[in-house]
């Protein structure tokens, strides 16, 4: 787990970040083939954050949360630039981290509740716990395991038993059997496991289409689908926010915000 052996995904991060602040990066040459950056290498945002934290090459207890937040936001930004489809939870985490970052940078008296230090500490503790379990798992797998390192007699004779017939079945057999019965006889309802998500592409398409129909500054929230369920709304908000940033960067929209945390207003550029 530790040491200098660099996981492929870590090399990917180096490549992606292309910056010497964190670790000896592998610089991307201009004209390189398309980068293969995806979030599939990670099991969710926390996993990605932990991988990023490791690139700081210090004890996890000493990592800089602010630097980590910046790393994550840059990763997401790069991924967005590369027009990669990001799962909603990565964007939600990005939004939360952006909030945390602004909190950490605010003067002390203006800090909201709960304090950003507390939120940062929570994130820190979560990363420590995940890392601890990851290491524990690795150490567990490295033990002298039956069938790999130590061996039993393959075909013991078996012992005389007090009862003449002993029936064998385990709890797993039992609950598995019940699962089978239920799966076999229950009415088939196919539930699409995929959560309702608005992809970045969809959001860009939607925001750029709607922006043309708005004459004046319009709240970002007015671009969201009205009758969507709460899950899709969360995803749509996050995606539309990133879409707005992307469109602003392309010079197609203007963004205005009255104050920190005030509503975001969008307008088609040049109107």
């Amino acid at each position: 787990m530790s040491g200098d052996v660099r996981a492929p995904e870590q090399l990917e991060i180096d490549r992606l970040l292309g910056d010497s602040d964190w670790a000896d990066p592998i610089r991307r040459k201009p004209g390189d083939a398309v980068l293969t950056v995806s979030t599939e290498g990670w099991e969710g945002p926390l996993d990605l954050l932990l991988a990023l934290a490791r690139t700081q090459k210090v004890d996890l207890r000493e990592i800089s949360i602010l630097a980590l937040v910046e790393q994550y936001l840059r990763f997401i930004e790069e991924a967005v630039e590369l027009r990669l489809e990001l799962a909603a939870d990565y964007l939600v985490m990005a939004a939360w981290l952006a909030y945390l970052k602004s909190g950490l940078l605010l003067p002390r008296e203006a800090q909201p509740d709960p304090s950003p230090e507390e939120l940062a500490l929570r994130l820190h503790l979560r990363l420590q716990r995940l890392e601890a379990m990851r290491e524990a798992g690795a150490r567990l797998m490295a033990r002298d395991r039956i069938g790999r390192d130590v061996f039993l007699r393959p075909a013991p004779e078996g012992l005389h038993r007090p009862k003449s017939i002993v029936w064998q079945a385990s709890l797993f057999d039992l609950i598995q059997a019940y699962g089978h019965v239920k799966a076999r006889t229950a009415p088939r309802i196919h539930i699409v496991a995929r959560r309702p998500v608005m992809t970045l592409e969809e959001a860009i398409e939607r925001v750029s289409r709607l922006i043309g129909m708005k004459l004046d500054w319009a709240d970002l929230r007015s671009f969201l689908p009205e009758h969507a369920d709460p899950q899709l709304k969360r995803s749509a908000l996050a995606s539309s926010f990133v879409a707005a940033l992307e469109l602003a960067k392309q010079g197609r929209v203007e963004i205005r915000q009255e104050a920190t945390f005030a509503p975001l207003y969008l307008k088609a550029a040049g109107q």
Binding site: F151, L152, R153, P154, A155, E157, G158, L159, H160, R161, S164, I165, V166, W167, Q168, A169, S170, L171, D173, L174, I175, Q176, A177, Y178, G179, H180, V181, K182, A183, R184, T185, A186, P187
Partner: protein, 202 residues
Amino acid sequence: MTLSMSERLVEAVLFAAEGPLTAQEIARHAAIEEGVLPHLKALADHYSGRGIELVERGGRWHFQTAPDLSYILRREREEPRKLSRAAVETLAIIAYHEPVSRAEIEAIRGVQVAKGTLDVLMEAGWVRPAGRREVPGRPLIYATTADFLAHFGLASRRDLPGIEDLRAAGLLDPIDLAMESMEVRTLFDTDEADEGDGEEEL
């Protein structure tokens, strides 16, 4: 007695072997260049008079229980028997829905339950008759026993994973359905309502 590395390897190879091995096979498995016969003889001496002995039969070597202690071994007819799939399913349904009648078990399984299946479960001491249902025909109803809980390591029936837990653990995935459909079985009119009732009781 301190064993040499070669003797230790010969001992371990014989212990973990699927069956009797020739000296050549032992040497190969233990990656020993020199002859293993002296090691085998030393080990056989060492084990003499113990609970286990090392013996040679037709040029092959193996460990066995000392002959005077063989009475502790299982006799052939005592093979522990694995419950049939039908029996495990029936037991599971009784455990989740008890008390249930045979007709109710069949409705839930969607397959007929042979009389012998319930007999096996009762013989194993896991299922008992628990009175009669006060409906026309007064069918016998069945429930699980304290032995059942003990055998499966459950404090109570409420500790059985619920449907949601099974789903989350992947145990409701119809993986084996292809296999199932190949089984010849009698389909009953499954009354889904029955199932619902049972679940509520858990």
